[in-house]
């Protein structure tokens, strides 16, 4: 993986610009940002499975954190956390140091985090949570950073500033995308925990400020104006993580208007963003006053975010458009489209920019496919209502009954080429409806009853049908049963119950199982009985075979289904080594080898 903080310490003599740059993943970036913020103590997760941040802390423990006087704690219970945060020592005498708490786990942490977020802490404290439920906590300093290295560093800086100002811990949410992120940041000097604690003590006020004011003071809520001389007329209010993207979207829309010669400029649009979840600017602050004075505002925020309502109620902001987005899967084109559709409302009917904005607004909906139907999509659910074995069995029966056609969309009854109606029905449905599960007026036919369910025998008996049980793990057995039953017209119905059979692999004595790919080809019926997990897709790399071959692997799950496979495919073989210790055995084998080659032309 990427270099660790410890590794970076050892290579600080790197050349040129690399010296001041640091490339790392989540753990490294967080550890570096904590050092730069003068953290005095770190409380690691009490979960047995360490988070990426815990792992980075462990890596840096000896060579990096300890020499800087950072105290590491690993709590075994959450109840011990509050005393530590409210009166930390962290090995420092004097002012309470800054701390960091890593909350492991991705589910069910909300009660603990709510409690943590309301603690009156002595120094600045930042918590890291991987549980996204924390975004729903009210009246707390919860920060939703951009999942980039720069975004995380910015968030940690702001979180400490806000925590010190508010006298309460700030929580940073680490979303799933941040777990896999990598990035390069510019290194700053490490801050001394003691000096930072003293500096915090100097700026701390006894009563602390409200969390909204603290957030604004720490730069968690920010605004930038356009270049228009008169200031802002409109505001684009966005969630913190999409701030950068929103700026680009606005710039792209504005550039398009310039390109087409529109008179409208978007340089009077202010962009307001809040990385503190659920917190809007204070009414009497600069941003709040600006928002209260604008003519129009557009809000783009995640679904759960209530910022639009808060802007209307708290600041009386004229929010004309609200768009919910999923920040995780957002594309730039979507943002451009949203901004364009909002900007469109500002244009007059004869403005040449109108058509350009319409085009931008509709760009997302435009198809962008390249034979995409021929690209299998991951995780897609195929239209296959019966198990692969039953499907293979029914397909095999086509060799006798032809390809049946459905008689009625409401009933699962199919007309075979032999004239016998075939109904494929789940056991529960057949038990409930008996022969009436077939399409009305089809006469005596064959029922293939799949799955488990009581009452099938009784229902068959009540319909005057004969009944047959078939090994549900053998496609050939199912196909033979269906083919035989449907081969000629019936005087009474026949029910084929496909049993759920769990085959158990017979013990194998030192032999290896395998398949010849060229004899399997790209057919999938023969290996339908093998569980998916016990198969491998193999590319033959031949010009004549377009596509992969499915082979059964030499694993117990496949061994259990070898008999059904061998009934359908000539590709299987067993290989066993034989003992050749001893001169007699070696001579015997050499003789056999020569004889086989001479007599049968097989070169062993």
């Amino acid at each position: 993986m990427l270099p660790t903080e410890e590794h970076m310490e050892q290579t600080t003599g790197a050349h040129g610009g690399a010296r001041e740059l640091l490339t790392g993943d989540l753990g490294l970036v967080v550890v570096r940002a904590l050092l730069e913020n003068g953290v005095g103590y770190i409380v690691s997760s009490w979960h047995d499975r360490p988070t990426p941040i815990d792992a980075a802390i462990d890596e840096a423990r000896e060579r990096v954190l300890s020499p800087r006087g950072v105290v590491l704690r690993r709590l075994r219970s959450r109840s011990a956390l509050e005393p530590l945060v409210t009166s930390p020592t962290g090995g420092i005498t004097g002012a309470p140091p800054r701390g960091a708490v890593v909350f492991g786990g991705r589910r069910g942490l909300r009660p603990a985090l709510e409690q943590f977020a309301r603690v009156q802490c002595a120094g600045g404290v930042v918590g890291f949570s991987f549980d996204e439920d924390v975004l729903r906590i009210d009246d707390a300093l919860v920060i939703d950073p951009e999942p980039t290295a720069i975004g995380l560093v910015r968030a940690i800086d702001a979180a400490y500033a806000a925590s010190v100002a508010a006298g309460r811990p700030a929580l940073i949410v680490i979303r799933e995308r941040a777990l896999g992120m990598r990035g390069t940041i510019r290194r700053r000097h490490d801050a001394s925990p003691v000096a930072t604690a003293d500096a915090d003590a100097e700026i701390r006020t006894p009563g602390h400020v409200s969390i909204a004011a603290a957030a604004e003071q720490a730069g968690l809520i920010d605004a930038t104006l356009g270049s228009a001389h008169g200031g802002a007329v409109c505001a684009l209010v966005v969630a913190g993580p999409i701030r950068v993207a929103a700026e680009r979207a606005l710039a792209q829309v504005a550039a398009r208007l310039v390109d087409v010669g529109s008179a409208t400029r978007l340089d009077d649009v202010a962009i307001v963003s809040s990385r503190a979840v659920g917190i809007v600017p204070a009414r009497d602050g600069a941003i709040g006053r600006m928002l209260g004075a604008v003519d129009d505002a557009c809000v783009i925020a995640p679904r759960a975010d209530r910022i639009a309502d808060q802007l209307r109620s708290d600041l009386s902001a004229p929010v004309s458009a609200t768009h919910s987005i999923d920040a995780g899967s957002l594309r730039g084109e979507t943002l451009v489209s949203l901004v364009a559709s909002w900007a469109r409302t500002r244009l007059s009917e004869d403005d040449p920019g109108l058509a350009a904005l319409d085009e931008l607004a509709g760009a997302v909906a435009a198809p962008r496919t390249v034979a995409s139907s021929r690209v299998p999509r991951r995780g897609e659910v195929l239209h296959r209502a019966v198990s692969p074995v039953v499907a293979a069995g029914l397909t095999l029966a086509q060799g006798v009954i032809g390809v049946p056609g459905r008689l009625d969309a409401e009933y699962p009854t199919y007309q075979t080429d032999t004239g016998v109606p075939l109904t494929v029905v789940p056991a529960a449905v057949f038990a409930a409806h008996g022969a009436a599960s077939a399409a009305p007026g089809t006469g005596h036919g064959v029922f293939v009853v799949t799955g488990q369910g009581g009452g099938v025998t009784e229902a068959a008996g009540a319909a005057g049908a004969s009944i047959e049980y078939v090994d549900g793990s053998s496609p050939r057995a199912i196909g033979v049963a269906v083919g035989t039953a449907c081969r000629s017209m019936r005087v009474a119905s026949h029910v084929i119950v496909v049993g759920d059979v769990q085959r158990v692999a017979a013990p194998r004595r030192g032999s290896t199982f395998g398949m010849d790919p060229d004899l399997v080809g790209t057919d999938r019926i023969a290996t339908a009985a093998v569980p998916t997990a016990a198969t491998a897709l193999v590319q033959l790399g031949e010009e004549l075979v377009a596509g992969p071959t499915v082979l059964a692997l030499d694993v117990p799950a496949a061994h259990a289904s070898l008999d059904p496979v061998r009934e359908l495919s000539p590709a299987t073989w067993d290989l066993r080594r034989r003992d050749t210790t001893g001169r007699a055995k070696r001579l015997s084998w050499n003789l056999r080898r020569k004889l086989v080659r001479a007599v049968a032309g097989v070169d062993l």
Binding site: A255, A293, V375, T395, G399, V403, R476, D518, A546
Partner: protein, 594 residues
């Protein structure tokens, strides 16, 4: 390195209050009257005009192929060059590629503007798996004005591809064609194959990709930066540094994978020994003729097919295939004109004919089992030397017809009562042949010798009938629409497997050709619809359902197409027929069950 979006940034120097229109009249900007703002608001920062998108890349691949190492190396190489970069995973989505989005701040003043939101087409797409590249193109990351693509042609299969018919999935050449037209530049090679050239393990593919990226010069970074990146990461750095060195050459030559087509002499030189003596001259003549019939890109597949058929039976049998291929190529030229090699029906037709004209009867199975190459591969795979004793047991299912055919030199299948019984219902015996024993090897030899008795058998006629049915459907569709013909050409390989499996697959294929393809083409032809509206609706839909849901999909749709054709033949207006076809082409679950 330059940004690519937006095409032109907002020029902050232009005074906002006035604007010169195209007509040259100066008029007031349309901004409403400026609100009087408090002094505190005026202190808010003014953002710069150049909110330009930085240089960006997308690196995609599957977990197994370790392509995402390229991201780490790229970031570290940028760091070596003093450049800040960010990489964020793409959100999980069935249509999105699996990979990371990278943004690089070419200038220090836009470092803070690096974001995590993927934005339009990127400057560089790196794909460690070929279908992932298509997913990236499909998701809009590739543009013919800005994007350079560096990709490995290697396919790594996901679980969903076990269930989808392989004929349906885009082929390597089709992907090449899509990438060439979609991208500014396309560099592709088979990573595993190239690694083999340089005696590197296939795991070296990410190193080759990084080398190719460096070779293209798209990043503007030096080779030394990349090597320093590999060393800094420290993951198998010796291997990857070597792979990187080899890979730089791959990035200097644009285009897809280079395939060497063998000349007629090169192809036949070693293979002629495996052909029956009586067929050797014919084999050589056919290989020479092949070059005159098909495009050079399709020559290797035709050569392989000729060899296969000569090995299966004789040169006369292979001549049938070559004649059919010549007819198909001529028909395609006649009806469609010049076709790009990747879009031609010829290669799929050759595969289809080879699949239909070579059937795994007892003789062919024995032939395959006796091959020296097969036994050598098995020994190598299991670390068995020629001196080590081993026992190889082959399990060969033989129905009554197969057993009878291998029993004596007579052809008992002709007129035998067993011939009227479908293979599925014939008594089956799985023969356990010990190939490494004298008796087993002799048994295989006897079975293989039955190949001489194939000529003129009922089975041979049966298989030829399938090929003829497919050929009729193909020629019909070639006369109608080339895209439809491509589908029909691909469908020929449905006829696969041995015994009952082959019969079942044959039934599926015949239902597709007879009930779907020819019926829908017939409807249009009877109506004089030159646009072939019904066929263009029904055939692609039926084919997709068949490929994605399996043969049982035809149970849902084939009979309905017949019904529509019947109604049309009885006087249903063409417009109503189209409406019925549209109503039919809605996917639904095929067979109710558990």
């Amino acid at each position: 390195m330059t940004g690519t979006l937006p095409p032109r940034t907002v020029d902050a120097a232009v005074a906002p209050s006035t604007l010169v229109t195209d007509a040259g009249h100066e008029r007031a900007a349309s901004a409403p009257d400026q609100t009087v703002l408090p002094a505190a608001v005026a202190a808010l920062p003014v953002r710069g005009a150049a909110a330009i998108r930085p240089w960006s890349a997308l690196v995609c691949g599957l977990t197994e192929d370790r392509t995402l190492l390229v991201v780490d190396w790229l970031l570290l190489a940028c760091r070596e060059a003093g450049i800040v970069a960010q990489a964020v995973p793409l959100a999980g989505n069935s249509r999105m590629p699996h990979g990371m989005y990278v943004e690089v701040a070419a200038d220090a003043d836009i470092e803070d503007a690096l974001g995590d939101v993927p934005w339009g087409a990127v400057d560089l797409v790196v794909a460690g798996e070929h279908l992932e590249l298509v997913r990236a193109i499909d998701a809009g990351f590739v543009d013919s004005d800005v994007t350079t693509v560096v990709s490995s042609c290697r396919r790594a299969f996901t679980s969903v591809e076990r269930d989808v018919a392989p004929e349906h999935v885009l082929t390597e050449r089709e992907i090449d064609a899509i990438a060439r037209t979609s991208a500014l530049a396309y560099y592709a090679f088979d990573g595993h194959e190239v690694a083999g050239w340089y005696h590197l393990p296939s795991a070296a593919q990410p190193g080759l990709l990084l080398g190719a990226i460096c070779g293209t010069g798209i990043t503007g970074l030096d080779e030394a930066d990349f090597v320093a990146g590999i060393r800094a990461l420290g993951v198998d750095d010796k291997l990857y540094a070597e792979a990187f060195r080899r890979g730089t050459r791959l990035g200097r030559r644009e285009g897809g994978r280079v395939r060497r087509v063998k000349t007629a002499y090169q192809f036949t030189r070693k293979r002629r020994a495996h052909i029956d003596h009586a067929s050797r001259l014919g084999f050589e003549a056919l290989i020479e003729r092949a070059a005159e019939i098909v495009h050079p890109d399709h020559l290797s597949v035709l050569q392989d097919a000729i060899y296969l058929l000569c090995e299966f039976q004789d040169a006369e049998w292979a001549t049938i295939l070559v004649d059919h291929v010549a007819d198909i190529a001529a028909a395609e030229r006649e009806h469609t004109g010049v076709v790009e090699p990747h879009a031609s029906v010829v290669p799929d037709s050759i595969r289809a004919l080879a699949a239909m004209l070579v059937w795994p009867d007892a003789a062919w199975i024995a032939n395959r089992k006796r091959r020296t190459g097969r036994i050598k591969d098995l020994r190598n795979a299991h670390g068995i030397s020629r001196r080590d004793a081993y026992e190889l047991v082959d399990h060969i299912p033989l129905d009554a017809l197969d057993r009878a055919a291998t029993r004596s030199r007579r052809m008992p299948a002709m007129g035998s009562p067993a011939a009227s019984v479908p293979p599925l219902l014939q008594p089956l015996r799985v023969e356990r042949v010990t190939t490494t024993s004298i008796s087993g090897a002799l048994r295989l030899r006897r079975m293989a010798a039955a190949a001489k008795l194939r000529q003129g058998t009922l089975r041979q006629r049966h298989e030829k009938d399938s090929a003829d049915t497919w050929l009729e459907a193909l020629h019909d569709s070639l006369r109608t629409d080339h895209e439809l013909a491509r589908i029909v050409a691909r469908s020929g390989t449905l006829v696969q497997g041995s015994g009952a499996v082959r019969e079942a697959n044959r039934a599926t294929a015949h239902a597709f050709w007879g009930r779907i393809v020819r019926q829908s083409i017939g409807i249009d032809r009877a109506s004089g619809d030159a646009e072939s509206t019904v066929a263009k609706l029904i055939i692609p839909f039926g084919w997709e359902q068949l490929c994605r849901s399996g043969p049982l999909a035809l149970w849902e749709y084939a009979a309905q197409v017949l019904g529509i054709a019947l109604a049309h033949s009885r006087g249903l207006p063409h417009d109503d027929t189209i409406r019925l076809a549209e109503a039919l082409c809605v996917a639904r679950r095929p067979v109710e069950g558990s």
